[in-house]
């Protein structure tokens, strides 16, 4: 009997060890794929990176050049996208966390906002095409800005609501007790207390849209030449990467890798800053 129990226990232990080993293997697989992706990106990206990438325009097939117009285009699109999207998200998040806290309306807005948050970005592109590009009759930078702004809104709304809800109640109650109306309490006390959290949200949104490609394909389109005109098609790094990577030309493919490296680095830097700000908030 006791030997039977002992073998049973040994079997259970072996089974446990076997499955746990698979968990280690899974973690190894995850880390290994991240390592492979970053290795390829840094190797290919840095080997093609030189000053020309930042100073010259995108070249015609078969000749050398840079990504200047795409970099400028991406900066314009991302900056304006955040600029347009952030206020809306901030205000909506404020309503949900303050005036409409716990109401049915807030619950349903939060639910639908979360769906918008993970909705396929290409569908957002189609929507902007329908309401901006089609009536205007041509592709334009401004359509790209709206598409990106629409991706910013749900992220900022979500983080704003979460961060405002973290502000300690006694703080706002003390402000209210001084006779401040709600709007003053929100703008002068709550926002200030939650500032680093709010900035985190905006940074996360910036990181998210700076690599977005799908909604730009048929809104901002692309432009081989330097342009800062929002009423005309505008080049952007992701779209250039897409076009160049699928081309048969070696020069273009090399530029695509360099562009990919630039995007990834900026996304990583933005997320690191966001993380540092976010943890500081929690540490308080």
């Amino acid at each position: 009997m006791s030997t039977h129990a002992a073998t049973l226990y040994a079997r259970r232990n072996r089974k446990s060890k076997f499955w746990l080993a698979l968990c280690y293997a899974a973690t190894g697989f995850g880390l290994f794929s991240l390592f492979l992706i970053l290795c390829a990106l840094f190797y290919e990206g840095f080997s093609g990176l030189n000053m020309a990438v930042f100073t010259e325009m995108t070249p015609p097939p078969g000749s050398a050049g840079g990504l200047l117009n795409a970099i400028v285009g991406s900066l314009i699109l991302t900056f304006l996208g955040v600029l347009v999207g952030t206020p809306l998200g901030l205000l909506a998040g404020t309503y949900m966390a303050e005036y409409g806290r716990g109401s049915k309306f807030t619950t349903s807005v939060r639910f639908l906002n979360d769906i918008l948050l993970s909705a396929p970005s290409i569908v957002i592109g189609l929507f902007i095409y329908e309401i901006v590009v089609a009536p205007m009759g041509h592709f334009s930078g401004i359509a790209g800005v709206f598409a990106l702004a629409l991706l910013v809104v749900p992220i900022v709304t979500r983080t704003t609501e979460d961060m405002l809800l973290l502000v300690p109640r006694p703080l706002t109650e003390a402000a209210s007790a001084l006779g401040m109306p709600r709007s003053y309490v929100i703008t002068k006390v709550t926002y200030r207390a939650a500032l680093s959290g709010l900035i985190t949200g905006v940074l996360l949104a910036t990181a998210r849209i700076s690599g977005e490609t799908a909604p730009l394909l048929f809104t901002a389109l692309n432009n081989q030449f330097f342009s800062a005109d929002l009423n005309a098609p505008l080049a952007s790094l992701p779209v250039i990467i897409f076009q160049f990577a699928l081309s048969p030309y070696k020069d273009w493919q090399r530029l695509a890798w360099s562009g990919a490296l630039l995007i990834t680095l900026s996304v990583l830097i933005l997320s690191i800053i966001a993380r540092v700000l976010g943890t500081r908030k929690i540490a308080k």
Partner: protein, 329 residues
């Protein structure tokens, strides 16, 4: 004395005036702020409604021309203006299902590792690494898939699979045909790596909500670590894990750039996983700017509508499950 009294009286009335003015200003500014924040929240609903309405309007010509047959027709021919959504829908579902089949066990494994096995010193760095994986833009995955993964699969994995499964009756047709490198399988592998971090981070978060007492009680009656995980932790967190998985599925269904690079963009349904295929989002990304003619554009918008409806259902389910998991805690 009288002077002072008179002054103070005047002062009181002035102060009263000021008070009322300030009070009014406060009140109106508060009303104003309430109004604009409410409008902003309402705008989100309007935007979502706008997306649905515009997609429905855009896809009307297609459904008028082909009816519901659009959903079950495989043909996709811009020359003769005949369109069917069967092949992209098939591609979308197959790539997502395979991606989930790979990513779910691996993602849960990593989550178990992070919450139960990992030494404390490594928890943060590995957690950050997983989140880095989530932060990489999808176009980078596409680029990597096209230049690194696809040639690798083409040279080593696909020929091996083809010869290994050649004598097996059903599986031989799944792994048949020339190894192109790009196709359904490659797209699925890329997708699985992309959605891995979503599954991992949500599962890890819900695993951490399991009360220590429950685990300790299980260890106390002699359970092995694996038994604690499968009989206590996972049953306790099923709702949350399912929610995370649905969220990841929603991502996989709608993912565009990573798939577009490696799917091959062929509007046909083949049994082989090595064959080039297409997904809804890849078709739209590849063809939309080149679409000439209203019907072609409308067919692509209809694909977008179908994708939106599918992901809406999946994501709504995911949020409901996650909300229930949160209430449970």
């Amino acid at each position: 004395m009288v002077d002072i009294l008179a002054e103070s009286k005047a002062f009181t009335t002035v102060r009263k005036d000021q008070r009322e003015r300030v009070f009014k200003a406060f009140k109106s500014s508060d009303g104003f702020y309430r109004f604009i924040t409410f409008s902003a929240a309402l705008t989100i609903l309007v935007l979502l409604g706008g997306v649905i309405v515009s997609l429905v309007i855009g896809s009307l010509p297609t459904f008028r021309a082909f009816g519901l047959d659009f959903l079950v027709t495989e043909a996709w021919n811009p020359v003769s203006d005949k369109y069917g959504a069967m092949a992209p829908i098939y591609g979308t579902l197959v790539t997502s299902v395979i991606a989930m089949a790979i990513a779910l066990p691996v993602g849960l494994g990593i989550a178990i590792f992070l919450s139960e096995l990992c030494p404390d010193a490594l928890k943060r760095p590995i957690g950050i690494a997983v989140e880095l994986l989530a932060g990489i833009p999808s176009i980078i995955y596409g680029l990597w898939g096209l230049f690194i993964l696809a040639p690798f699969l083409q040279a080593y994995v696909q020929p091996a699979l083809i010869s290994a499964f050649a004598p097996v009756p059903v599986l031989s047709s799944l792994f048949a045909g020339p190894p192109y490198g790009i196709g359904l399988l490659t797209a699925s592998v890329i997708l699985s790596v992309m959605i891995l971090p979503f599954i991992t981070s949500i599962s890890r978060d819900v695993f951490q909500t399991v009360p220590a007492v429950l685990k300790e009680a299980a260890y106390g009656i002699g359970c092995t670590k694996w038994e604690v995980i499968t009989k206590v932790i996972i049953p306790y967190t099923t709702t949350g894990v399912a929610g995370g998985a649905m969220l990841a599925l929603g991502r996989a269904l709608g993912e565009t750039m990573a798939v577009t690079f490696v799917i091959g963009n062929a509007h046909r349904i083949s049994t082989s996983l090595f064959a080039p295929a297409t997904t809804i989002s890849a078709s739209i990304a590849n063809e939309f700017t080149e679409a000439v003619g209203d019907l072609y554009t409308s067919a692509l918008i209809s694909l977008g509508l179908i994708l939106f409806v599918i992901t809406f259902i999946v994501l709504a389910l995911a949020r409901l499950l996650l909300m229930r998991a949160q209430a449970h805690v």
